[in-house]
Subunit: 214 residues, 4 copies
DNA sequence: AATGAATGAGAATTCATTCAT
DNA sequence: AATGAATGAATTCTCATTCAT
């Protein structure tokens, strides 16, 4: 492995360790000593690869965002061509165990909790939010057209869709017993079923698979 | 003022100062010195009225929750008797400026961000979540009955409702320009409009007021 | 003792401890832990009374300067009225054991060594230097007039006087065996003896006392 | 270039880099990383050519001293044969721009400031001091004899001479605007003019050139 | 009840030094 | 010979907590 690649690997190693540590002990109790230990390295190492703790956190958030975007895009791209199928894939993706597991959700909320006072966090979160809103709005616009719906505003529906997912993540965080992955998906599909009965209506249990891929 | 009342007044004063400080500087930068200063008192005071910083935070969260519950209940109680009217009032309440202002939302997310590692926070948040879910589920159950709807699961719909509100708060936190109070309410009403067309349908702009209070 | 006076006393205590520590271990090995220990207090104390280590050093230098100025002024004021007597007192003062002891000289040179990169140090040293140059120039101007000398420039002579004293301090630092207090005074008086034979000439051993107070 | 010569060249390169770094950032902020960077080499290199940071500093001081001695000797040797001419050359030399420039003086004082706690520094400085005192004492002894002076102690005069130069360097460090090279030389010559009127007297501006080379 | 000086544990950060490559 | 990643001890600074007044 080249020296540069090795360096990048170490950085990723440290960012993953940071995520683990936040998940394990929380944001305000995060110490660089813990991170270094989790990465199996020495205390001085973090300040060698990252200018400061702040910088480590910023880059870790960026890492988290990139990861999320890539996985989601992959999952959507693998779905059928119809807007309904892709929305359905988006729902599955957002509650897939590699994305919405307790650790990840925990860390997302940890970052969101600090966002207000860290301009760099905010910027990254805004970018993600904007990117996804644009994406889902496009899907809903296509769905409305493909389904021949009238009087529906894709922007508003997309906002509700995104917000509901974030809110369900919070439920999974706070009430993991009441809200599991499948329950969460059912909730979202009920929302969409009201507005798009042909594509998402009437299936409480089996998902929208049949309709969506039809 | 009695001795106990004075004591309670001091405690409230300190909890409010805590909320202000969290809103101003963040959760992980919160110092008791700041809180004391914001309250116009001396550093030693916090450990006098609260056993520890942790305890102060726990009681502040409780204070926040109580405040939220009381205000929401008041707002719902003042609405009409129908489930639709009360749901409508709940929406208005949740995005009212005394509840969903930037400071409050900021602080909610600050606490939620830490919830995972503080069992006492978690417990309080769970209680709130459960209480409200029970409340909204009841409202939706009544709405379904009152409206003569079939095949709708009040539990699922209530979950989506609660989640969407929390998610919209996050939007207000991250994208205050894109998502303001009115936009947020429209989003929720669009959700309900899909499922309850008679009570919440067809009004994209004016709110559900007409239908709901009918 | 009032609270404010107590606070000031603590500050002085810490500055004196700083001087002791610099004298004992050097400038670049100075740690706040050492200072606190020398003052018989706990580690956190320095940052309680001084904003930072830098600030402690700056104020310590100022303290040192004030001390020096006050002592010197006192010593000069106690001498006779003639310029010669006062210059003689200045020489005695500058090599008096309370001013030019090894500890003090050590610390002066420690600060001078850092002066170049610490604008605040530089400013304080410049002020001292300017103040004293003005003072000695005035004395030499009077001496020239009182003695009826011609073609002597008080400014140049004063510069040489001040410089020689600083340089002799360095000798005392580096070669304490070759240059003691008395030797140093003799050196300065030899300088003055060349220029002011009536007041400082011909006495190699007894000092200028006789002539000066004549 | 032989292996040994190359090695020596690297060592000199690093010592010069050290001098530059001290001049640029100060003694207590000197890091080996800076030195290596200034020398255009890698961090590990210093500990390769010098056993430790301490050793590098000691050898750098030695380097500085050797440089000073060689230049001064050269400058004196090029002067006339008389003691007066050589003393005059010594004065010119000590304030020549290659010796008493701000960078060099800065670094000298940086070392002197640390001298007290570093026995090796002290030893080197003592040697230099002793060497030069012996040298100047010899010159003054010759001057006294050549000029037929009586009752003058060459040892005392030489001490004053050396000290005055060191002190004037301090002035150049602290008050570069008030004390420049020419002013400094005038100050020293005024000192000597008082004691040796025939060789250094009566020229306030033109230097002692005429008398000295006579 | 209230103050605020004092404590000391804990954290980020720096940097001389080592050593595998 | 030279590099630079990695180490870990040391240092400054912060801050919850205590306690004498």
């Amino acid at each position: 492995m080249s020296r540069d690649a090795l360096k990048e690997a170490r950085r990723v190693q440290l960012m993953e360790a940071t995520i683990d540590c936040i998940a394990a002990h929380g944001f305000s109790d995060l110490t660089l000593a813990d991170v270094a230990k989790a990465a199996g390295l020495s205390v001085g190492i973090v300040n060698f690869y990252f200018k400061s703790k702040d910088q480590l956190l910023i880059e870790t958030l960026r890492h988290l965002v990139d990861d999320y975007i890539q996985q989601t895009n992959d999952n959507i791209r693998n779905a059928g061509a119809s807007a309904a199928a892709q929305l359905d894939a988006a729902i599955d993706s957002d509650f897939h165990r590699t994305i919405a597991n307790r650790k990840r959700v925990t860390v997302w909320y940890a970052f969101w909790g600090e966002t207000r006072w860290r301009p760099e966090f905010l910027k990254i979160c805004q970018e993600l939010s904007d990117t996804f809103h644009a994406e889902t709005r496009k899907l809903f616009a296509r769905l409305i057209e493909e389904g021949g719906y009238r009087d529906l505003d894709p922007d508003i529906i997309a906002r509700g869709f995104d917000a509901m997912i974030d809110g369900l993540w919070l439920d999974m965080l706070i009430n993991p017993k009441s809200v599991d992955r499948d329950a969460a998906k059912r909730v979202v599909r009920t929302y969409l079923g009201g507005l798009f009965p042909n594509e998402f209506g009437r299936q409480r249990t089996g998902g929208a698979a049949t309709a969506a891929t039809a």
